[in-house]
Symmetry: C2
Subunit: 209 residues, 2 copies
DNA sequence: ACCTGAACACCGTTCAAGT
DNA sequence: ACCTGAACACCGTTCAAGT
């Protein structure tokens, strides 16, 4: 069980008045814009503040430092991603294995692909953080959903569900990321996605009841 | 075919005298040390120079900027990795598919794992770079070796070798990376590696002659 | 309760001066 | 041919003063 994020990375205060909620939202939006434009190299606190229409000081009221800002942005993104995966798992409880695999790959792939530029920017930005806590929290939350789904499959029995789950999710998430990094073409991506599904299915066929 | 790395990232000059070759080597070594100690956040030119026992100015004689230094370090690492993969492919030319898969996974996994801390530090450092050129050059070089190997398999016929190759390497490289990011335990890693092999074999079984 | 922006310390980078 | 290190611009962060 992962603890809370390192104190230095936690938001300084939670916005209470609606004015400040707007401010924080503007800061997040500005951060994405700046990241998309110039990547982490050009992500300066001044630039983010300027784009968000606030002063640097204001930014520092909500985030103790630049890293915390990027950290919070990624936490937000991973939270949304986890929610989508959880929904998919709920929808496919008790379904046959083949459908589960397809649904999982589809959800993850779509989530990462629909805003490829944002995905890429965040992949890069999160690398610079002490992201262990972030990754662990995400992994644990999503693993819970996917293992439950797998365990509920109507046409399979697993001697070791966590193990099968680990293989499945590591391969899927890793492959998607690597595809991004290689910058595969749309055609290559389509073929790859199909082959990934084939592989996962072939693996899971071992557990067919 | 990828062009040369962006001019801004290329080494400024190649060391000609042995004195300067030693200097460059010391700078590389210092960079790794500093990266291992504090990650990219604490990688300052002053610290690297100090640790290498030279002045900042000297560092800037060989690398036009900090990014170029990190770039060169990763280029070096990827070059060595590619060479190892090429060797494995050469050794397994004409072998049965199953052995190829096992050898490829073994080589890659071992290369990444034997110095896990360095691997982790480099994974993170390369994310901050304009690394497209670097990644493409590596991918192209390694793809050439692996596709050739696959095509030579004594017990398989591929309708589309590049496609099978893409599936294979993306899944393998991606999985290894993701395993690193999740920080899997040694036992989990062992199981995962076995399952990854199973998956790849099951996929390739489709092409058995 | 929230915002501002000048001020400070530190880092990346340069270049005139050295061997 | 190679090295030095003070100097400069810029960025992260703070805090006294404001609404």
């Amino acid at each position: 069980m992962p603890g809370p994020p390192p104190t230095a990375l936690q938001p300084r205060k939670t916005p209470r008045q609606s004015r400040s909620r707007v401010t924080v939202e503007a800061i997040f939006e500005a951060t994405i814009q700046v990241l998309l434009r110039g990547g982490m190299n050009e992500l300066t606190t001044t630039r983010v503040a300027e784009r968000a229409g606030v002063s640097v000081g204001t930014m520092y009221q909500y985030f103790p430092n630049k890293q915390a800002l990027v950290y919070a942005l990624n936490a937000r993104y991973l939270d949304a991603l986890a929610a989508r995966i959880e929904a998919t798992c709920r929808e496919h409880a008790g379904a046959p294995l083949g459908q589960m695999v397809e649904a999982l790959i589809n959800t993850y792939w779509t989530a990462k692909t629909e805003r490829a530029d944002v995905t890429r920017a965040l992949y890069r930005s999160v690398a610079e953080l002490n992201n262990d806590v972030l990754i662990h929290a995400f992994a644990e939350r999503v693993d819970r959903a996917t293992t439950e789904m797998l365990a509920s499959a109507c046409d399979a029995v697993f001697p070791d569900v966590p193990r099968a789950n680990l293989a499945l999710v590591t391969v899927i998430y890793g492959t998607v990321r690597n595809a991004f990094e290689r910058g595969v073409s749309d055609q290559e991506a389509a073929a790859l996605r199909q082959d990934l599904t084939t592989m996962c299915r072939a693996y899971l066929a071992n557990f067919r009841a």
